[in-house]
Subunit: 390 residues, 2 copies
């Protein structure tokens, strides 16, 4: 059974070794004034910055560098929007991981808006226009390169928002797995954990179909099989290319078209965690995943665990459902631990005294206590999940 859906992803993907040679042609369609955005300088270490500046020799380029993980509305988005306005930017070229791209997407709409940009991001005002965004991805993780979302933190408001709008689809995404060879063990693990969680957030929903289930299990299998190789041999093109491509598709909806909506509860919880403690998104998700699973396991939800157990992990079909479900939860815990993620929030710097406040924050912002969630989570449930994660 395929549930009703609308799906649209106009982004063009260029995947493979050396694809950035096509950048000038793609950017040139939009104009000559480019805002080049990037993060802390890793793109300089791997030679990508120099290569891109060479490719852009015929363009007028303004730079915004230093975009932080969990990108901040102020200063990054505010500064970027100002630079676009001042320089009549035709196209934004984001080079880096999901944070740089998310920040650039936010800039692309704020630059076309005269009021306070946070009003767009927080959903108070609907954006009417954007500057085209093109990206070169250097980290397999968020899938921002193939979706219409971004996640922006507002430090002063202690808020972290997921913002979705069709205007935020990149015009084109360039994916060369070789640019991920230098990604650290930590970021490789956290990026993969992020994508594993993206698939699971979509898998735990009702209704679902043979086709969707198979695609999602295939995505999980690819991620879980390839990440050990990438950690062991960072320049293994086969493993890096599978991680990069699966991450790209893991978050844009194609794997779950026609499945019901789960409500993305683990992301709601993690967004509170990283708004309060600025932890790494993928690590936070990995820690929460098995605890959320334990919380929502029930006779109604057991079927989802059993499908994962038999199809993904190859568990015997004759084991009782509850036992299979617990084996699945243990298997995900063991997987995240095996790739080097500390599985307790305290190890990531989170303190237990904020649990109640974070639970209130989640309920206020994302309404996880709601009938459209796959499993509704009230304050007690959120506190249980967070406490178990400590």
């Amino acid at each position: 059974m395929i549930a009703d859906f609308t799906y649209h992803t106009p982004t063009k993907l260029y995947f493979g070794r050396g694809v950035i040679k096509d950048l000038p042609g793609v950017l040139g369609r939009f104009g000559k004034n480019v805002l080049l955005t990037y993060g802390g300088g890793s793109i300089k270490k791997i030679g990508l910055y120099t290569k891109i500046r060479e490719l852009l020799c015929d363009f007028s380029v303004v730079e915004l560098s230093g975009i932080e993980p969990n990108p901040k509305y102020d200063p990054s988005v505010v500064t970027g929007a100002r630079l676009c306005k001042e320089n009549h930017t035709d196209v934004i070229l984001a080079v880096g991981g999901g944070s740089v791209l998310d920040c650039s997407k936010a800039i692309s709409v704020c630059a076309k808006y005269d009021g306070e940009g946070w009003d767009l991001i927080s959903g108070k005002v609907r954006a009417e226009a954007s500057i085209p965004v093109v990206d070169v991805i250097t980290l397999a993780a968020t899938g921002s390169e193939y979706d219409c979302g971004c996640v922006i933190s507002h430090t002063a408001l202690c808020d972290k928002r997921g913002y979705l709008d069709d205007l935020l689809f990149p015009a084109a995404s360039f994916l060369d797995p070789e640019y991920t060879f230098s990604v650290s063990r930590w970021q490789t693990a956290c990026g993969t954990a992020d994508a594993v969680n993206h698939v699971l957030e979509q898998f735990f929903a009702s209704p679902h179909s043979t086709f969707n289930d198979g695609m999602m299990i295939s995505a999980l299998r690819s991620l879980m099989e390839n990440v050990p190789t990438a950690l062991e041999h960072p320049d293994d093109y086969g493993a890096r290319s599978e991680l990069m491509y699966v991450c790209t598709l893991a978050c844009n909806g194609i794997l779950a078209n026609g499945a019901g909506s789960s409500g993305w509860p683990m992301h709601s919880i993690e967004h509170a965690l990283s708004a309060y403690f600025d932890i790494t998104h993928g690590a936070g998700l990995a820690v929460i995943t098995p605890r959320w699973m334990k919380e929502i396991l029930s006779p109604r939800t057991a079927e989802r665990f059993v499908t994962l157990g038999t199809e993904l992990f190859g568990f015997d079909k004759n084991i009782p459902d509850a036992e299979t479900a617990n084996k699945v939860i243990d298997a995900f815990y063991a997987f995240f631990e095996s790739i080097g993620i500390p599985m307790h929030l305290a190890q990531l710097g989170v303190t237990a005294d904020k649990i109640g406040e974070m639970a209130d924050h989640i309920l206020k912002k994302d309404s996880t206590e709601n009938e459209w969630m796959y499993v509704s989570l009230d304050k007690d449930a959120l506190v249980r999940i967070l406490t178990a994660s400590m």
Copy 2:
């Protein structure tokens, strides 16, 4: 390992019961002059024609009806292009199956070209513009609603061409599984056979990846599990919706991005068959499939059969490869036969005296004897496949 690829599908999908309510809004973006295209009148029998004319009450509508299966350049494409030019058509609305949509796509470029339209379709001249096409699909089969291709027959030249161009992507496709409830057993079976073959054409390629293999096997499983239900209970929404969605994704590339190209050899053979004998595309493909498989089975290709055998059919992993491969071939033969497709070309009206001529035709048009084919097929091989299929 994900091989290099470029992927772009800007078509917006509207899937589910009642989605055509959004037609006027979508069409209205392009203008008020609509060319409405359809086939032999089945859309009148199911009430869809009346519903669409009601939805289009504020538009100026010209009709082209009677588009045939295996749509013909002359008269259908030629007439449609003339109607568009005469009526300053802003948007073409195709209502029907893949044949109606393919014909409409061809019309969309020929209407913007002053020369002989066949020069575009045959690749002699590159199209520079097209009229937007929107479709309402009533048959789960070709996947034309989500790709940039069309297949057009030129009766006088005894030619059937697959024509690909980014201009041919529909702007939007409306997919309501209820409109497929009245599809006959024969068309349901042939449409499914078409999609099964689309997946297999992409599966037999090198290189391939965990992720692609899983998606393609999931697509095959969904098609093969759901078609018996749809044949038994034509109004089973669950089965019809899975068939419709899988058919939509089966041909546009998303299942095989990053896999190598196979060269689509079975389509090359079938296009010759239906150019010479006007047989039903999906039936021709079903008959050819096991014979092509037998022809290309070798120690090099056995791994593909083993993956299908163990992952799709659940065969024991300890069986010798060659035995598994033959079991897989037999399983596809049995599947097509079980859904009511006569498994001999003679039963479809093909005569053996044309085999040599068709083999020459295939080699001349599609160069199946070539190193970029997954398995190169010379004239002897083509004759063997066709003879075995009789």
